[in-house]
Structures are given as C-alpha cells and as structure tokens.
Symmetry: C2
Subunit: 321 residues, 2 copies
C-alpha cells in the first residue's frame, strides 16, 4: 500500500536566526532568512512579501479584482498556498480538484484539500478522471506506450478548462511557481521548441468562448518561498511526489537550474523575468474547429481527449513495459 | 611547487568490450564504445570517425584546403588533438603558444607541446605574455579586481590574433569542442546575452585586415571523443586544469549540460547543432577605429589591451582578495 508512505508537511521549519537579527521591513525580530533577496523577515512581513509578489504578478493580468476565480488544487504546497493567498487578498475563489485514481496518492491529495478547505470554510468541487474521461491514470498507463506524465498533463489541462466553465467560472488560476516556469523555459530553449515559448506567460486569455482564461499568480515566487509560506500560514500539504512521475524530463531542467542558481545566485529569477519583460500577452486569435465527438474546440476533426479515449479503448495489444 | 602536481595523460583507457563486439564500420574487433552514436569502433575506424567529423565541420568554412593554418596550442587535449587531426588531414600547420607565466602550469604546458611537436616534427612558435603584454597572468591578478579568467581570455584572444598575422598566417584554428560551444550557448541563453550568440559560429571571417579569420574544427566532437582520440593516437597531453581558474562560470554551464545529457542523451548535440542550423556566417561589416596607443583595430579610442595595460600599470592601490 502506497498510502502509508504519503507525507504531510507544514512547510519549512523556520530558520534559527541569531536573536539580534532584525526584520528588514519592520525591525522586529526576524525568523526567516531570504538570502536571495538579501533580506530577513518576521512572519507577518514575510506574508506581506509573498502577497506583494502576487499583487505585482496581478498587474500583468487584465482581470477585474471582482472576477471569481476557480483554483486548480492538487493538495501540494503550490496549489494550497495559492488558494490561501488569493483568499487572503480578498478574491472570491472555489477549489477544483481532479481525482486521478492513483492508489494512495490520490486519496492523500483529497485529504489534504479537505482539511485545508474545512479549516478555512472554502468551497471546492471534486471530479474523478474516471467519471469525466472513463479511465483512471493507472488504467491509461496500462493501455498506452505514451509517457504517462504527458498524458496526465494533457487530461488535467483539458478537464480543468472544461470543468471551470461548467462550474460557471471564466478564469482558472493555477499554482505554477517560478521554478516551474523557469524550468519550462529552459527546457523549451534547450530543445529549441520556440513555438511553445509564446505561451510561457503568466496570463493566457481565453482563446475560445468554451475555454477559460488562465492565470499563474505564483510565477514570481520560488519553491523555497512557497514552502516557507506554508509554514508561516500553517498550511498542511501533501509533500510526496506522484509515484508515477519518475523520470519526467521537466524535473531534470528544474534540477539543472537549481544547480546554476546555487553556483550563481539570482540566475533563475533573472532568466525568467528578463524573458517575460520583452513579451506581450499571447494573442487569442487561433482558428478553432469543433470536435466531431464531443463538440469541444479543437484544431483537427477530433480533440486530443477524444483521440486519447479512442486509443485507450481500442482492443488491447500486448504492451511492453 | 605546483609543478609536481601536473599530470600528463594519454587519453582514455580503451573500453574493455567483450571479444565478440564488432566494429560498426569494418566488422573487425571493436575496442571503443560510442554509446552516444549507437556504435562501436576499432581504433582505425574511430580515427576515421573523428577525421570525418572535422571534414564535415570544414564544409562550413569558406577556406581553401591549401590555406596554411596557425593552430593555437595550450598543451591540453583539445589543442593537441586538433593539431594532430589537421596535420593528418594534410593541412599545412604551425603551432602558436602564449606562455602565461603561471608557475608550474605554464612550464608543464610547454613541455607537453614540445614533446608533441618534436615527435611529429611540427613547427611551432612560443611567445610569453610578459614579453608581448608586459606582465604575466599572476602579476595581472595581483593588480586588478577583475576576474582573472575573463582577463586571460581577452589577452589570449587578442594576442593570438595579432601573432597569427605577425607570423604570416591569415587563419587561426582553435580547439573549442562541442562541450565548450554548447556550454557557451547555454550561458548566453540563460543570461539573455543575445548579442553574443551571433558570434557563436565555428567560422568567423576576418573582420578587419589586421585580424585573422578564426575556425573551430572540433565543434562537432565532445570531450569524451577527443580524449579517446588522444588515447588512440598516443598524444600525451597536460591533464591539469589551470590552477587559477577555479569558479569560472563557463564550467557551471558545461556541468549543467553534462547533467542534462546524462538524463537525456543527445540533448547537448541537438541543442548546439539545431542552433547552428539556422545561422549564417556572421558578417564582418563592423566599423573599426584605430587604437591611439598601438594602432590596432578597436571600437573606441583605446583597444582593450592598452586599456588593461594602463589599468594594471597605474600606481597600486590596496586590492582586497
């Protein structure tokens, strides 16, 4: 049973700073060292720092502050911190979770979300992939040779979009942080996938009436800052990696960046922010057709979800593992 | 004394392949495993593979095969392998070494070159930085706060250019390999130094009558292949890093790429070659002026060598280390 191994954490243990260390902002005693920003903070000022980073990100989003936000939640540090921050900043939010049906891991995810939402009395909705797509992730893995992380990412992206609209929201908010975005940028650069680099922007407008806009309010905060925020705000999150994600290439690019950041502090931030500085909000003028199967917007005759379903449902051949 | 620590090597010990392993090219017994190319080679076919990579690189160089080549040699694996290959391929060559005056290291470099050249009866010239610039590298380091690797690179570049012409050659050949070039590309991308990326090309035409053209014939071969070549061809090279180069940022980018290559074999090659595929030979239409001090081509009133000399010669202030 995987369940036993699932680990919940409540963020970083706060740094043991010498007693005379003062908070850079309010001069009271500091407990959090932010070497990257040459600053030390007390917990309230650290919270202020995190909220400011999200407020600053929000300036890039042409979205009214009254717009209700659907928040994609997995139960991990990023999505729960995001939900908490948006809530703290006064946004109207609702959580949205897709249960992937991964033994142990998915139950642990749901428990983390349940506890978080109950403590804060926040509304959320749960859908299972089995119910919306017809199969769990492990089932899909046993029926395809495609890399499961790519398939899972595709399905989450599509169903989060569809369910956001179904739930009556126009904007989906996701927890991608600075490390995720910088790692993705590095991967696209190293593999010369210039076509994907346009979409690497913290705000993507709705490209079609049947697709929501998407925002990434955490793109200015890195994993360390988010984990620390969870500690300060007593957010208990699921601290286990998906047991099926071993060897995902995105991890390697993030790790390469972590190595460069360690050797040359500031590299990661400068790399992403300088890239974004020259960019405009991506256009939404794509030419969509309609999927013959499900009527969702698509570029071909069939959307990728229906194509995947057909592939998974076809009579099984022997698949080597 | 550093000298005692200097290490000469004769390349990789050849792989211990099972006896039945056949050479991919001639079907005789293979001794060299080339996992990256899904091939195994016997020593003569490996030599053929290396020579072919250089011949293929040469197609990018609009240079006659009869053009005499000055070869920048340091005594390390890359420059000695380069000199050997060019010689084997029938080019007329002469070695050019700049003695940097680094205790132990510089003597060891000269010894490696001397031995190599004597065994093959190849002509070479040695100049000392002290004689052409007025100071050794350690002297310069004690008189400036600038990073010594950057200063040393600048001086080598400029004096290799000048001495090449002085020796009556029009083309300078340097030993930068695939790892060097891919690492430099990564560094320029991550730090968004787009202006340097144009010059990342294995052939640079002479931008001024007083500057030679520059070629990098080894850009398709990585460090493993070059070290193996040295083993096959019995080239004894200096296998020690410069004792003053610790912490050079270029190492970090090469290391990050090595990590990615290990996780995703082929990444490094594809990264560099795809980048070069879209590029043209950089133009040579730069607007040079003349240095007031030494009459060398420059963009400002003084060339960077004269500016550095003035900086180094100024009355000494206390320099913190």
């Amino acid at each position: 049973m995987l369940h036993q191994e699932m680990k919940y954490t409540m963020g970083k243990t706060l740094s043991q700073l010498p007693e005379e260390t003062k908070c850079t902002r309010c001069r009271s005693q500091a407990t959090i060292r932010m070497t990257n920003h040459h600053a030390n903070f007390c917990p309230p000022c650290f919270t202020h720092f995190v909220h400011s980073a999200v407020e600053r990100a929000w300036k890039k989003f042409p979205i009214s502050r009254d717009e209700p936000l659907m928040v994609a939640v997995s139960g991990g540090k990023d999505s729960l911190a995001l939900w908490d921050i948006l809530n703290q900043l006064g946004h109207k939010t609702k959580g949205l979770h897709i249960n992937l049906g991964i033994e142990g891991f998915s139950n642990a995810s749901v428990q983390a979300i349940e506890r978080f939402a109950a403590e804060r009395r926040l509304p959320w909705a749960q859908y299972s992939l089995e119910e919306v797509f017809g199969h769990t992730i492990p089932e899909i893995q046993s029926r395809t040779r495609r890399k499961i992380c790519g398939v899972c990412g595709l399905l989450k992206r599509r169903f989060l979009n569809r369910l956001t609209l179904m739930e009556g929201f126009q904007v989906l908010s996701v927890g991608h942080n600075l490390d995720d975005e910088a790692g993705r940028l590095l991967g696209n650069m190293v593999r010369h996938r210039e076509q994907y680099m346009e979409n690497l922007y913290p705000y993507l407008p709705s490209p079609h009436p049947r697709m929501p806009a998407r925002v990434k309010p955490l793109y200015r905060l890195d994993a360390y800052e988010i984990t620390t925020y969870c500690g300060v705000r007593h957010i208990s999150f699921l601290d286990s990696k998906c047991p099926m994600s071993r060897g995902a290439t995105s991890h390697s690019f993030k790790e390469a960046l972590r190595f460069l950041e360690e050797k040359m502090p500031g590299t990661k931030r400068h790399f992403l922010f300088k890239h974004l500085r020259g960019k405009k909000v991506p256009g939404n003028g794509q030419d969509f057709g309609i999927c013959r199967e499900c009527s969702e917007p698509t570029f071909g005759d069939h959307c990728s979800v229906c194509a995947l379903r057909a592939h998974v449902n076809q009579p099984r051949k022997k698949v080597a593992h």
